[in-house]
C-alpha cells in the first residue's frame, strides 16, 4: 500500500508540474497563417507583419476578428520576437501557410529568410513564398479584405493551383534547395491587390525568378503558364487557340499534361527537346467551324500543336535573350542525366544556355468535347 500511495502522489505531483514547460493552450499562442516581410533601406530594418487570427465575443456570438500586427527588427527573427511585445502571446508558426515578401527583400537576397524557414522547427517546409508586386508586401495585408484572407490562407493556394496554372506551385522546400545551390534558379509566384466591387481582393498570378537568391525578373501570368509547361508542373488550366478566322478561339481545358525533356548531343552540340503531351477537352468553340468531327479534330490538333510549340519556343528564346538565365534549370537536368558532360560544361553554362537550341514538340490528345458535339453556331440543316 505504501508503494502505491507513493506512486499515486508522484503522479499527481507530475500533474502540477505540467504547464511549466511546453504545455501551451491554443488560446495562448498567436495564431497566424500569413506574414509579410519588408526591408527598409533607410533604417536597415526588417518590417514583419503578421495577420493575427483573433476572435471577438464569447459563447455563441464568436466572430473572426483578424488583426495586423507589425514588428521591426535588425533581423527577421528579431522582428518576429518584437511582435510578442505587442500581442502578449507566444509566437506559433505551425500553421503558417504563406510568406509574402516585398521587392526590397527580393533585391537584397532571400538567404536570411530561407535560413529562418529551414532552421525553425515550427515553420513547415510546405509553405508558399510569394512576391508582392505592389510597392511593399505589407500593403497586401493592410489593403486586402482581412476575413477573406483568413479563409483563403487556410490551405494556401494549393487547391487553386489545380484549376488554373498561372502560378507555380512551389513549396519553400524547393526554393531553399534552389537558392542554396548556385547552379539552380528559383521561381516563386507573385501576389497583388485587385479592386473589385469597392472591395480589395488579393490575386495570385504570375511569377518572379531569382538568381543567387536575388530577384532577377518577373514573368506575366501568361508567360508563367508557358514556364509551368516546360517544368512539367501543369495540373489544369486552359489553352485558348486562335483559329485564324476573325478573332475566334477554341478553348481547350487541360485535363492532364506531362512534359519530358530530352537531351541529345548531336555532333558535340547540345540539343534539348521538350515534349509536351497535354490531354485536353474542348470546352468552348467560338465560331462556325465544327472541330468535333474527325476532320475537324485533326485540324484543331494541328492548330493547337503548332500554336503551343510556337508560343513556348518563342518564350524560351525571349528568356535566352533577356535575361539570359536558365530559369528552366535545364542545366540541372543535364547534371542528373549526363553527369560527366556536366562536369565539363558547367562553368560555361550561362553562355551555352544563351545559344542553346531548344525544340518544342507538342502532341495534344483531345479526349472529349464535353456535353455537346457540334458547336451551336454550326448549321446542321
Amino acid at each position: 500500500m505504501k508503494k502505491a500511495s507513493l506512486l499515486i502522489s508522484i503522479l499527481i505531483l507530475l500533474l502540477f508540474l505540467s504547464g511549466c514547460w511546453d504545455y501551451k493552450e491554443i488560446n495562448d499562442v498567436s495564431l497566424t497563417r500569413a506574414i509579410t516581410i519588408d526591408w527598409e533601406e533607410e533604417t536597415k530594418e526588417y518590417i514583419v507583419c503578421i495577420q493575427l487570427i483573433n476572435l471577438k465575443g464569447m459563447g455563441k456570438g464568436v466572430e473572426l476578428n483578424p488583426q495586423i500586427i507589425e514588428g521591426r527588427g535588425k533581423t527577421i527573427v528579431d522582428a518576429l520576437k518584437n511582435i510578442i511585445a505587442i500581442t502578449a502571446k507566444s509566437s506559433y508558426w505551425g500553421h503558417l501557410t504563406m510568406i509574402i515578401i516585398g521587392q526590397d527583400i527580393a533585391n537584397k537576397g532571400l538567404d536570411d529568410l530561407l535560413d529562418w524557414i529551414a532552421r525553425s522547427p515550427e515553420v513547415q517546409l510546405t509553405i508558399n513564398i510569394l512576391l508582392s508586386t505592389e510597392k511593399t508586401a505589407k500593403e497586401i495585408l493592410t489593403r486586402g479584405n482581412q476575413i477573406k484572407m483568413v479563409v483563403m490562407t487556410e490551405y494556401g493556394m494549393i487547391k487553386a493551383f489545380r484549376y488554373i496554372s498561372k502560378m507555380p506551385n512551389i513549396t519553400a522546400n524547393k526554393v531553399i534547395n534552389h537558392v542554396q545551390r548556385k547552379d539552380l534558379y528559383a521561381v516563386i509566384p507573385t501576389i497583388k491587390i485587385v479592386e473589385m466591387d469597392g472591395e480589395s481582393f488579393t490575386e495570385i498570378a504570375g511569377s518572379a525568378y531569382f538568381k543567387n537568391g536575388k530577384l532577377a525578373g518577373v514573368l506575366s501570368s501568361i508567360d508563367t503558364m508557358k514556364f509551368i509547361f516546360i517544368i512539367n508542373e501543369i495540373e489544369g488550366g486552359i489553352l485558348t487557340i486562335p483559329t485564324g478566322e476573325r478573332n475566334s478561339y477554341v478553348t481547350l481545358d487541360i485535363f492532364r499534361s506531362s512534359t519530358k525533356t530530352k537531351i541529345d548531343f548531336p555532333e558535340d552540340d547540345i540539343q534539348i527537346t521538350v515534349n509536351i503531351k497535354p490531354i485536353v477537352n474542348i470546352s468552348e468553340i467560338d465560331g462556325f467551324e465544327d472541330y468535333t468531327n474527325k476532320k475537324g479534330r485533326k485540324v484543331l490538333k494541328e492548330m493547337a500543336d503548332s500554336y503551343l510549340e510556337k508560343e513556348i519556343e518563342g518564350f524560351i528564346e525571349e528568356v535566352q535573350k533577356s535575361p539570359g538565365i536558365d530559369i528552366f534549370n535545364f542545366g540541372n537536368k543535364i547534371k542528373k542525366t549526363h553527369p560527366r558532360v556536366w562536369k565539363k560544361i558547367n562553368k560555361d553554362w550561362e553562355e551555352i544556355f544563351k545559344e542553346l537550341k531548344v525544340v518544342v514538340n507538342s502532341d495534344i490528345k483531345i479526349k472529349s468535347s464535353r456535353h455537346i458535339s457540334k458547336p451551336i453556331g454550326v448549321d446542321t440543316e
Partner: protein, 364 residues
C-alpha cells in the same frame, strides 16, 4: 501454456527485438550524410559487409549454447582477462545506452518540446526502461513483438502517404562525387546501427531455440535494413538536396510533408512516435546487456538490482557527453573508430578461442 520462466524469448520475438534495435535511432537520425544523395548506396554496402559478422556472432554463441558473452569470455580467457574484457563490453553498452538517450532527448528538444529540459525527457524514458528490465527479458520480447507491429503499421501509412510526393530524380546523379564519400559513410553506418548487434551476444543465450540464433539475427537485421533503405530513399526523394543534407533529422522533415486532408495536417508526429518506440527498444536492450554484464563481473545473484542505478547513470552521462547538438552530430564521424574494435576484431579473436575451448569443453 504454463510457463514459469521469465527469461526466455521465442524466435519470433527475437527477430522483432533485433529489428527494433537496429531501427533504433537511425530511423530518424542519419547523422551527417557525407555521401549526400548516395547515402542509400552506403547503407547497402554497410549491410552486405556486415552479414559475415552475423555468422561469426552466432557461431560464437553456438559453441556454448545457453551461455552469454560474459560467461564465454571467462571460459575462453580465464577469469581475470575475461572480467576485463567483459568490463570493456559493459562500458560499450553503457555508453551506447547513454548515446541513444541523448539522441532521443535531443530530437524531442529540437523538434517538439523546446523548453522541456533534456534531463526530464531522459528521466521519463529511463524509468520506463528500468521498469522493463526489472520485469524480465520475456516481457521485453513480447513488448518488442507488439511495438514492432505498431511501427510497421505507422510506416505503412507513411509510405502510402508519401507516394505522390516522391521525386526520384532527386537521387540523381548517382556517384557524382565518386566512391570515396560513399565508402566513408558506409563505415559510419556499419558501426551504427549494424555493428551494435554485437550486443546480442550478451542476450541471446535466452533464445529458446539456440540453433536459430543466426536466422533470428539475420532476419531481424534484414527487415530493418530494408526499412531504413526505403526511408532514406524516401526522404531524399521528398526533400531533395541540399535540404536533406543540412537538416539534422531528414526523415522527420520529410514526414512533415505528408498529410491526411482535414484529419492530420502533418505526419511529423508519426516519426516522433516511431523514434520513441524504437529508441526505447534500443535503450532497453543496452540496459539489459549492461546489467547482465555487471551481474557476471561482480558475481551477483540478480541483475535486476543494477537496473535503476545504471539507468540513472546513463541519464547523467547522456547529458554530459556532448554540450550541444552540433557536437553530437560531429561525434558520429568519430564513433566508428571507437567501437569497431569491439565489433569486429575482438569477436574474431573470441571466435578462435571459443572454437579451441569448446572442443575441450565438450570432451569434459
Amino acid at each position: 501454456m504454463i510457463d514459469t520462466n521469465k527469461e526466455t524469448i521465442i524466435s519470433k520475438q527475437g527477430i522483432y527485438l533485433v529489428a527494433i534495435f537496429t531501427l533504433g535511432t537511425s530511423i530518424i537520425l542519419s547523422g551527417v550524410p557525407i555521401a549526400k544523395q548516395d547515402i542509400w548506396l552506403s547503407l547497402l554496402i554497410a549491410f552486405f559487409s556486415f552479414i559475415p559478422l552475423v555468422f561469426i556472432y552466432s557461431k560464437i554463441l553456438s559453441f556454448f549454447p545457453g551461455k552469454n558473452l560474459f560467461e564465454i569470455l571467462e571460459i575462453c580467457f580465464g577469469k581475470i582477462v575475461g572480467k576485463i574484457l567483459s568490463s570493456l563490453y559493459v562500458s560499450y553498452f553503457f555508453f551506447l545506452g547513454a548515446l541513444v538517450i541523448r539522441d532521443i532527448t535531443e530530437f524531442i528538444q529540437v523538434a517538439s518540446l523546446r523548453l522541456t529540459p533534456q534531463y526530464f525527457s531522459g528521466l521519463m524514458i529511463i524509468l520506463v526502461g528500468v521498469y522493463n528490465v526489472r520485469s524480465g527479458f520475456q516481457v521485453t520480447g513480447r513488448l518488442a513483438n507488439f511495438a514492432f507491429n505498431f511501427i510497421l503499421f505507422l510506416l505503412t501509412i507513411i509510405f502510402a502517404a508519401s507516394i505522390t510526393k516522391l521525386d526520384f530524380t532527386n537521387l540523381l546523379p548517382v556517384l557524382y562525387r565518386g566512391w570515396s564519400p560513399i565508402i566513408e559513410n558506409s563505415i559510419i553506418l556499419f558501426a551504427f546501427p549494424f555493428g551494435d548487434i554485437v550486443i546480442f551476444l550478451a542476450l541471446f543465450n535466452n533464445l529458446k531455440d539456440q540453433k536459430k540464433t543466426s536466422k533470428v539475427l539475420f532476419t531481424g537485421i534484414s527487415i530493418s535494413a530494408l526499412l531504413l533503405l526505403l526511408n532514406f530513399i524516401r526522404s531524399i526523394a521528398i526533400l531533395g538536396f541540399p535540404m536533406a543534407a543540412n537538416v539534422y533529422f531528414p526523415v522527420y522533415y520529410a514526414n512533415t510533408f505528408l498529410r491526411f486532408d482535414n484529419i492530420l495536417e502533418n505526419m511529423g508526429i508519426f516519426s516522433a512516435i516511431i523514434l520513441l518506440l524504437s529508441g526505447l527498444g534500443k535503450y532497453i536492450t543496452c540496459l539489459f546487456a549492461a546489467c547482465i554484464g555487471l551481474k557476471h563481473i561482480f558475481n551477483s545473484k540478480n541483475y535486476k538490482s543494477y537496473a535503476l542505478p545504471v539507468g540513472f547513470l546513463t541519464l547523467i552521462t547522456s547529458q554530459l557527453l556532448f554540450s550541444s547538438t552540433m557536437e553530437l552530430m560531429d561525434h558520429v564521424k568519430v564513433y566508428p573508430y571507437q567501437v569497431i574494435p569491439l565489433q569486429v576484431p575482438l569477436p574474431l579473436i573470441i571466435l578462435i578461442f571459443s572454437w579451441r575451448k569448446s572442443r575441450k569443453y565438450r570432451k569434459s
